[in-house]
Structure formats: structure tokens, C-alpha cells
């Protein structure tokens, strides 16, 4: 797209949640940002679960995002290091689907996921690593590469995890795609953003550029706006995962999630418009006041 910054048509990447889902296609490889129960783009995940999308390959440091997409039958393949709900670690919806053999897996060490994303972000076909040596991870068809230097050591060649799309949840964004991640850990969202052909960010609030208060917040800007394709405003869009400092993890809701069969959970919490969802989980005042969880 050339000249989108022309004076008569200012750059504006804002789109709706449904339009964001519309930019995805069957069979795509999609990276989902955050880590386990922290800062997952859950509003977008629920929208995908409601959509007709199928045969997705998902790359994630997995939490309820993976559990929901697995339960909704959206996965063809999962590329992951773990799926965990932290406090009550095992996600029953993920487990049921995995145990039924509902999708393929490429199981990696957490650091290998990081490395594969970094390779893609650098437009490299692979990065060498020792990780995987000595384990069953190496038996999944990973190839090796020999150091051309004196050491001659042989390494696993971690293949690039190139993404068709990355879905990331941030605290603030502007219409141009400038973003702020205010939580204490940026995780590996930056690498996912750079590894992806298109990046869709959902934001707690979409504000004017000056309201991002960049002079005070430069260190919280995870990547430059040119990697961002679309911006969706999604207040409480990480719920039930945490978006500290705006709101904490909803442990009570996660308990409901783990204890409710998927069909019932789907009709109570997924098959809803975002406003209805917020009411179903107790309203804005409740979610906005969720305290920081203790890990």
C-alpha cells in the first residue's frame, strides 16, 4: 500500500473486532502473544472461536487462548512449549482435545519457540541451538547444522516460525499503530510482531498519539508502528487473563472456565458480543478492580 500517509488520507489502522477476524483465513499460521495467563488477546480469541475459521496452526506460550481454540476445533496444529493456567496448571479443555488427538503438535522448549520466532523476525531460515539435544524434542524431524569454525560442534537448526498473523494485546495504542505494553514483562510479543506478515493489536484503549505520553513511556513501546497492520480497541480484551497494571488475573473466572464443559462455557461466555461478555463476567467495575495475582 503506497502513499497511505498522503495528506488527504491520514494513516488510520483502526478496525473492528469482526473485521480483524475477517483478515484471517483458513489454514493460516497465527502467533498469539502474552504468556499463559498474562496479557492474552482473549477478545480476539473468542471472536475466532465464534467464527467459521478452521485448520489454524497456532504458535503460543499457551494459556486459555489455546484451550479455547482447541476446544472450539479451530486447530490443525499447535506449535508450543506448554499450555498452562498457572495457579491450576492443567487446562482441561486443551487436555481433552490433545488426548483425543484432535490436532498435530510440534512440541518445543520455551526457549526454542523464542529462537524460532527470532529467526523469522531476522528473516533467517533457522538459528542454531543446543536445546533439544538429549530429548524427544529432537525426534520431531529437526535438522542439524555443523559449526564451520574450529569447534566443529553440531547443533540443532531451529527452523524459523514464520507467522501469517500475530495477535497481540497491548495497553494503549493510537490509530497509527504506536503501542504501549505497560506490564512488567513484555514477553516475546516483539518477536512475534516481527515474525508475522500482519500484526493485529487489540488495545485496552486507543488514544491520541500525545496521550501515549511517550516522553515518560518510551521504554514501554515494544516495536515501531510500521510492523502493526491493524488496531482494535478492546477494553478488558485480555480478560480472564491479566493486563496489569490495568486489571489482574480473574482467578474466579478461570475456575469457572476449568469446571465448565466446553459447550456450556461457549454458550455462556463465548457466543456473546463483547459488551454482553463483560456483563456475563461481572461488569466493568468488577473486572477493572481485579487485583494483581500472586504467583
Amino acid at each position: 500500500m503506497n502513499g497511505s500517509g498522503a495528506a488527504d488520507m491520514p494513516l488510520d489502522k483502526r478496525i473492528s473486532l469482526d473485521d480483524a477476524v475477517g483478515r484471517l483465513q483458513n489454514g493460516m499460521t497465527i502467533g498469539i502473544g502474552g504468556w499463559a495467563t498474562r496479557r492474552k488477546p482473549m477478545a480476539l480469541v473468542r471472536a475466532i472461536a465464534r467464527s467459521g475459521l478452521r485448520d489454524l496452526t497456532v504458535v503460543a506460550y499457551g494459556g486459555p487462548d489455546v484451550g479455547m481454540l482447541a476446544a472450539a476445533g479451530k486447530l490443525r496444529k499447535l506449535i508450543f512449549g506448554f499450555v498452562s493456567l498457572d495457579h491450576s496448571p492443567l487446562d482441561p479443555h486443551f487436555r481433552l482435545a490433545r488426548q483425543a488427538g484432535a490436532f498435530e503438535v510440534m512440541e518445543l522448549d520455551e526457549g526454542m519457540v523464542h529462537w524460532g520466532l527470532r529467526a523469522a523476525a531476522m528473516r533467517m531460515p533457522f538459528l542454531p541451538t543446543r536445546v533439544g539435544t538429549g530429548t524427544s524434542i529432537a525426534d520431531q524431524g529437526l535438522k542439524t547444522v555443523v559449526s564451520p569454525y574450529e569447534d566443529g560442534e553440531e547443533f540443532i537448526a531451529m527452523p524459523a516460525l514464520r507467522l501469517d498473523a500475530a495477535l497481540l494485546h497491548v495497553h494503549r495504542a493510537d490509530a497509527l499503530g504506536n503501542t504501549l505494553v505497560l506490564s512488567p514483562d513484555p514477553f516475546f510479543d516483539e518477536l512475534m510482531a516481527r515474525a508475522a506478515d500482519q500484526v493485529i493489536v487489540t488495545a485496552e484503549a486507543v488514544v491520541e498519539t500525545d496521550a501515549l505520553n511517550m516522553p515518560a513511556n518510551l521504554r514501554f513501546n515494544p516495536f515501531e508502528r510500521s510492523v502493526v497492520s491493524a488496531v482494535v480497541e478492546a477494553r478488558f480484551g485480555a480478560h480472564p487473563t491479566a493486563a496489569n497494571p490495568d486489571y489482574g488475573l480473574d482467578l474466579a473466572h478461570l475456575k469457572t472456565y476449568t469446571e465448565t464443559p466446553w459447550a456450556a462455557y461457549y454458550s455462556r461466555f463465548v457466543e456473546l458480543a463483547p459488551e454482553e461478555y463483560l456483563e456475563a463476567v461481572g461488569g466493568a467495575a468488577r473486572v477493572g478492580a481485579l487485583p494483581e495475582a500472586v504467583y
Partner: protein, 251 residues
């Protein structure tokens, strides 16, 4: 008087006694308490986190914190966790589901890979951890489903099994240290780093440990596991676990 949980915490803390200035990571409740105990009573050079993104100068008590605020001394985002662990400056005490004679560990799947009988967490950081820095293991229930015959169902953590090593060469940081269970303390000091009983918990015989293990053990003449000191018990009870969460570990 002390409980089995307290005995295990004290035994696990010993793992970090001789370590340099490394990150002590205790995963799940008792190893975490043990790391705290090690820092407060055995080795104050250890680095420790609050379980999230801060390095702390003293271990954070588990459970509701009341007015307690973690004393932060540095930033520990997950990216830094990987950078640090690849450097080798860490000793993790983790709780796998299965272990085999080689010290290979599993937290991923039980049974067939395509349609597992049980899908657990996934390999997490085990593959990278086990080839870069020292690791120790806690098993709250010592039985043959955990201490398996043959190999574990999916090898997440590397062990002393040259068949799986790249070109048969030992990985750069492979260094398995201690296993603590509800029955005994074991280590890897048998021939070829095989597993040996180091000490037996009070009232437990070597035969009982062997009976509950799917492979042959050394260490018939192991002494009794040392009882916790009054100081250690005081630190566990008042500073590290004031709400007594440790009572929930052994039924």
C-alpha cells in the same frame, strides 16, 4: 517434631549449599520454600525472584502477603530468564511427572504421543534447562509410575543417556544433582552417573524405595535423612510459609 514436608524442604535446600552466585529456581511449593530456606540459611549469594518479574533480596513468603512487599533488587523479564539459563548460572529444582534410570524427565505426555493417555503441561523449559545448568527434582509420591522402567514416555529433560546426546557427546551443562521424594534423598553419584540412594527418610527401608522404583538403585547402606534443625524449622514456619500451605502437599 517436624513433618515430612519440612524434612523434604530441608533436604532440598541442601542442593544449593555449594552453588556460586546463581539463580535458585524452586518450581512448585516445596522446592520454592527450599530455595528460600537455602538463601536465608545456607547461601546468601543466591539470586531469587518473586515468582514474576522481580529479583528479590530476600525470599517472598508464599500465600497471602498481607502488608509484606517484595524487596526488589532487579528486573527479571522472561527473556532474561533464558539469557541467564543459557549462561549456566542457575540451579532449578523442579517437579517432573516421570524420571528414568538416566535422570531423563517428563512433564509432557503419558502414553502414546498421538493420543496420549494424559496430556500434561508440555516440555516447558526442561530441554534447555537440563543441558545448560544444574537441575534437581522433587517427587511428592515415589512409585513405579514416576520412577519408570525403560525411558520416560517423552523425554523433556535430558539425562545421562549417551544414545540421545548429539554424536554421543555430553551436553555442555548437563549436571543433575539431587532427587528428593516422600521416601528418600537420591543423587547421581553411582557408576556412570547412575542413581543412588543418599539417605532414607525416618522409618523407610532401602527395600521399600527399591520396590517403588522401576530400575535398579545403588546405596543399600544409606544413612537416615538428617532431621531439620530448630533454626530451619523456625525460618520455614515463620518467614517462608506462615500460612502453613506446605501441609497440603502430602495427603
Amino acid at each position: 517434631m517436624f513433618t515430612l514436608a519440612e524434612l523434604c524442604i530441608v533436604a532440598m535446600a541442601q542442593a544449593w549449599r555449594e552453588d556460586d552466585e546463581v539463580l535458585a529456581s524452586g518450581m512448585t511449593l516445596l522446592p520454592r520454600l527450599a530455595a528460600g530456606l537455602a538463601k536465608l540459611t545456607l547461601n546468601d549469594a543466591l539470586l531469587m525472584t518473586d515468582g514474576e518479574n522481580g529479583f528479590v533480596t530476600e525470599p517472598v513468603p508464599v500465600g497471602p502477603r498481607g502488608d509484606y512487599k517484595p524487596r526488589l533488587e532487579g528486573w527479571a523479564p522472561y527473556a532474561r530468564t533464558f539469557d541467564n539459563l543459557w549462561s549456566g548460572k542457575r540451579h532449578a529444582f523442579v517437579a517432573p511427572t516421570q524420571i528414568d534410570r538416566y535422570g531423563q524427565t517428563n512433564i509432557s505426555t503419558i502414553g502414546l504421543r498421538e493420543k496420549p493417555k494424559a496430556a500434561l503441561l508440555g516440555a516447558r523449559g526442561f530441554p534447555g534447562n537440563t543441558i545448560h545448568h544444574p537441575n534437581s527434582f522433587f517427587f511428592p509420591s515415589h512409585h513405579k509410575r514416576a520412577f519408570v522402567a525403560g525411558e520416560v514416555d517423552f523425554v523433556c529433560g535430558a539425562g545421562y543417556n549417551p544414545e540421545r546426546w548429539m554424536n554421543g557427546k555430553k551436553p555442555i551443562g548437563l549436571d543433575l544433582r539431587l532427587i528428593v521424594t516422600d521416601l528418600a534423598v537420591l543423587d547421581f553419584t553411582g557408576p556412570g552417573n547412575s542413581i543412588r540412594v543418599k539417605s532414607l527418610h525416618p522409618g523407610v527401608s532401602f527395600a521399600k524405595v527399591q520396590e517403588n522404583t522401576g530400575f535398579e538403585l545403588m546405596g543399600e547402606d544409606a544413612p537416615e535423612t538428617e532431621a531439620p534443625s530448630a533454626e530451619a524449622l523456625e525460618v520455614i514456619r515463620t518467614r517462608l510459609d506462615p500460612h502453613g500451605l506446605r501441609a497440603s502437599v502430602f495427603k
